[in-house]
């Protein structure tokens, strides 16, 4: 066992890359990720609190947590200057923690902390789009206390309240030059945001199959007192760019409907399938409302005009031995970003992902879960209507993950008779 974990660790440190593909993250459970991030209709561990709160009724008391090392890797080919820019290497570590307690036959209470949205890109100094963006770091953590109710032996409903906290950091260079010093004027917007929402679902469990439906509400993240810092501004323009300014902004994290099913193909094999539809239309404009406006600094409103998008996911798992389960899966994710609106902050496109994973039951109550995600955000060539930046973006993502599951009650595996 140790050997394999070591191998995964090597894998983890051998890639040096950057950026998170799209700002929705599909990394909410190690077992689920191994199967293409399916899980709305497959209650296999406490991560179901995210996927479908109703499914908690079928997992028993347990803790389950994991983390991914996300290595996104973005390149940009600029058509006019015939130049390729590679975004600077970064690693992100989105995590997901879930605890579920079976209170009685009817009620399960759970608590979750996970990172459903996030993104980050860091472009090299003096890259061609530096007056559009030099870096973005977007983080959000959802905290979700959840209750599920088993209405019958086979059917449950559940719901959770979401409190979201987030952080946004956006930087760019300003096209202003000083006569006296050779430095680059720079703007940095940094703010904390929060918002609320909910997550509800229903789950039907039959002998050979299970079905689930869940709805994740929209969460309006609001930055109320962000800091706008302007540095290296020539003295004659310092009044136009107050060095300590504030800003307000809003970023809607979209609602989503998810339908999923799982089916036992054999005693040792289960297949799962998910369909998601995300209401990205909520992200219509991105605006910054500055505390102090000057002739050089007016409030901005940039159209984003995102479109609703779907994703299809499928996965299969196989109990290879008594104590080992292996998984494989994949997904296709439609981009919400229209042509003409792809920008360096989110060089998005339709994407295809392949995943694999494994669980090692090192002790009957304690399992180690591993996963590996490979994602290809397809090449996309377009001209941004607002900035006129014209070129091709391409992103690939590797995200190995590791997690632990601890069962508070001994759970017998029905399909473990070999």
């Amino acid at each position: 066992m140790k050997k394999y974990n070591l191998l995964l660790l090597v894998c983890l440190f051998s890639f040096t890359s950057s950026f998170a593909g799209g700002f929705k993250l599909g990394l909410q459970g190690q077992k689920q990720l191994g199967m293409g991030h399916t899980g709305v209709g497959f209650a296999q561990d406490a991560a179901i609190i995210y996927f479908n709160p109703a499914g908690m009724s079928f997992v028993g008391s347990q803790f389950c947590g994991g983390v991914n090392a996300l290595f996104p890797n973005t390149s940009y080919f600029d058509i006019s200057t015939n130049n390729v820019t590679k975004a600077t290497s970064q690693v992100f570590t989105p995590f997901a923690l879930y605890g579920n307690i079976k209170i009685n036959k009817t009620f399960n209470f759970g608590m979750a902390a996970y990172t459903p949205f996030g993104s980050g890109v860091l472009y090299p100094k003096e890259w061609i789009g530096r007056y559009i963006l030099t870096s973005i770091d977007l983080q959000s953590v959802y905290l979700q206390p959840t209750l599920s109710i088993k209405l019958t032996n086979n059917f449950s409903i559940g719901g959770g309240f979401v409190y979201s906290i987030g952080n946004v950091n956006i930087e760019k260079d300003l096209p202003i030059q000083s006569a006296t010093q050779d430095f680059q004027a720079h703007a940095k917007l940094n703010g904390k945001a929060n918002g609320i929402g909910y997550n509800v679902g229903a789950y039907l469990n039959t002998k050979k199959a299970a079905f689930g439906i869940a709805y994740h509400s929209r969460v309006n993240m609001e930055v109320k007192d962000g800091k706008a810092n302007f540095t290296n501004i020539p003295a004659s323009l310092s009044a136009n760019f107050p060095s300590t300014n504030t800003f307000k902004s809003k970023l809607p994290l979209p609602s989503e409907i998810a339908i999923g099913a799982s089916y036992n193909l054999s005693k040792r094999t289960t297949a799962a399938f998910d369909f998601n539809y995300t209401f990205w239309k909520a992200f219509d404009t991105l605006g910054y409302d500055y505390g102090v406006n000057t002739t050089s600094l007016s409030d901005t409103k940039s159209p984003r005009l995102y479109e609703n998008a779907y994703s299809l996911k499928a996965g299969i798992q196989y109990d290879a031995t008594k104590n080992t389960t292996i998984r494989v899966g994949g997904f296709y994710d439609q981009t919400p970003v229209k042509d003409g609106y792809v920008s360096p902050e989110l060089p998005d496109n339709n994407k295809m992902g392949l995943t694999c994973g494994a669980t090692f039951r090192i002790w009957e109550r304690c399992h180690i879960d591993c996963s590996l995600l490979y994602e290809n955000v397809f090449k996309r060539t377009q001209k941004n209507l607002e900035t006129q930046l014209e070129g091709t973006f391409h992103t690939k993502v590797i995200a190995p993950g590791v997690g632990i599951t601890y069962l508070f009650q001994k759970r017998t595996y029905k399909r473990k008779r070999y």
Partner: protein, 442 residues
């Protein structure tokens, strides 16, 4: 278990190693059917790198031909020699240095950012003839009709300083010294600009600025291009932007007289007293009073179709009652009135038609600078930066209001590259204009 899992994990690792980097590559670049090994740039101040009211070394370094030569180098271009000035304040041709953005106090006691002379001393026009011939033959002040005149090198100090034999060498004879395989030709601006900058005052003598005669223009262009293409050189020719596109003519508003009702009443009374009835004043913004020989009493209020030129003394406008007082109308030299604007625009169109015609005859790439400057005037965005033809803040022009700054020159270089790529089937990358400096702020 071991045997079953191992291939699975190894596969995963191999897969990720091989394909976790995006596959974006630069495209092949090529010269197409052109040969850039010996490139010569023929033109006026715009070709020389003149900016901020003077020719100075950093301006030359940021000239569009220098940028082009760097791009041409990628497809076989050779050495590009520039007749550099010494470092320093530069020279406008009459020993004044360049302008920088500084603080100036107006007659009303307000201090504000405006173009002022640099504190650096002017740079004498050094004679660099010994190191010639040069690839950059940009001669500030040169008109197209001067291109083949040997005598011109005696009169123009900018040509005089680097040509082989003053009094005999012409712009074109200098340009052909390197036996060019490729050339850019951009002359013609001064065939209308000098006249326009002087307020379209009727020429007094042969040395006065005037609109170049069409036939003279035509024959000079023809002779120039015949010489340049004699040995099979290919090239690009650029046309003349309308003067209405540049800040020199659009910065001072036609209606810069701002009045209270009380002041308007006082002025109306004054004008009535003098029996001038065609001019009435109202509260708010009013057009300046300008000289117009066709108007009653030879004066009238300016309209949106009249242009006040940038050299009009601003203190006189603000405090000296210029353009307001009936005895101080803005002189013809400070105004392009509607008729004059039309005259100049129409003449520009005629000269541009000749340029197009010869681009065709000599099978050259035509660079439509007139259209480009119009689009700059209406505002454009380049990789996230907004540019316009507004003085200082527009981002593309230098402090003289006529010549571009390095960013503006980079965009001009890109216009040349676009046309050259199209005409000769070349694939030459453009320059990143945002890499260059704009207006420098203190």
């Amino acid at each position: 278990m071991k045997n079953k899992l191992l291939p699975f994990i190894i596969l995963g690792i191999c897969f990720s190693l091989s394909s976790c980097y995006p596959e974006l590559k630069e495209k092949d670049i090529k010269a197409g059917s052109a040969d850039f090994s010996r490139y010569v740039a023929v033109g006026n101040s715009l070709t020389s790198g003149y900016a901020d009211g003077a020719l100075y070394k950093e301006g030359q370094i940021n000239s569009f031909p220098k940028m082009l030569s760097e791009q041409f180098e990628l497809v076989g271009g050779g050495l590009f020699k520039i007749p550099y000035m010494e470092s320093g304040g530069g020279n406008d041709g009459s020993n004044s240095p360049r302008r920088v953005l500084g603080y100036a106090t107006s007659c009303m006691g307000e201090t504000s950012l405006s173009p002022v002379f640099t504190t650096e001393k002017y740079t004498p026009l050094n004679n660099v003839k010994a190191a010639g011939p040069y690839n950059l033959v940009g001669v500030p002040g040169a008109r197209a009709i001067d291109a083949n005149l040997g005598l011109y090198s005696l009169l123009n100090p900018f040509l005089n300083r680097f040509c082989s034999t003053p009094g005999i060498s012409s712009i074109i004879s200098e340009a052909t010294r390197i036996n060019p395989t490729f050339f850019t030709f951009w002359l013609g601006n001064n065939d209308v600009l000098g006249y326009a900058m002087g307020g379209a005052v009727p020429p007094q003598n042969i040395f006065s600025a005037s609109l170049s005669d069409e036939n003279l223009f035509r024959s000079s262009i023809q002779t120039s291009l015949e010489s340049l293409t004699k040995n099979g050189a290919k090239g690009a020719i650029a046309n003349i932007p309308n003067v209405t596109s540049i800040p020199y003519f659009t910065t001072i508003p036609w209606n810069g007289v701002k009045l209270t009702q009380g002041k308007a009443d006082t002025l109306n009374a004054l004008y009535n007293q003098l029996g001038i009835t065609n001019i009435t004043w109202t509260e708010g913004n009013n057009g300046f009073v300008i000289v117009d020989s066709a108007a009653p009493n030879f004066i009238r209020k300016a309209t949106a179709n009249d242009l006040i030129i940038l050299s009009t003394p601003s203190d006189s406008l603000k405090c000296g009652q210029w353009g307001v007082h009936p005895l101080k109308p803005l002189k013809d030299a400070y105004v392009l009135d509607e008729n004059e604007v039309n005259e100049i625009v129409n003449h520009t169109a005629k000269l541009n038609a000749i340029i197009s015609e010869y681009a065709n005859t000599f099978d050259l790439a035509l660079v439509d600078m007139n259209t480009f400057m119009k689009s700059l005037k209406s505002g454009m965005v380049y990789n996230g930066v907004s540019y316009s033809a507004v003085f200082v803040t527009g981002g593309g022009f230098s402090l003289d209001g006529v010549h571009p700054n390095p960013r503006g020159y980079a965009m001009i270089a890109n216009e040349f590259i676009k046309s050259i790529n199209q005409k000769y089937g070349a694939q030459i990358p453009m320059v990143n204009a945002n890499k260059y400096k704009g207006v420098l702020f203190p």
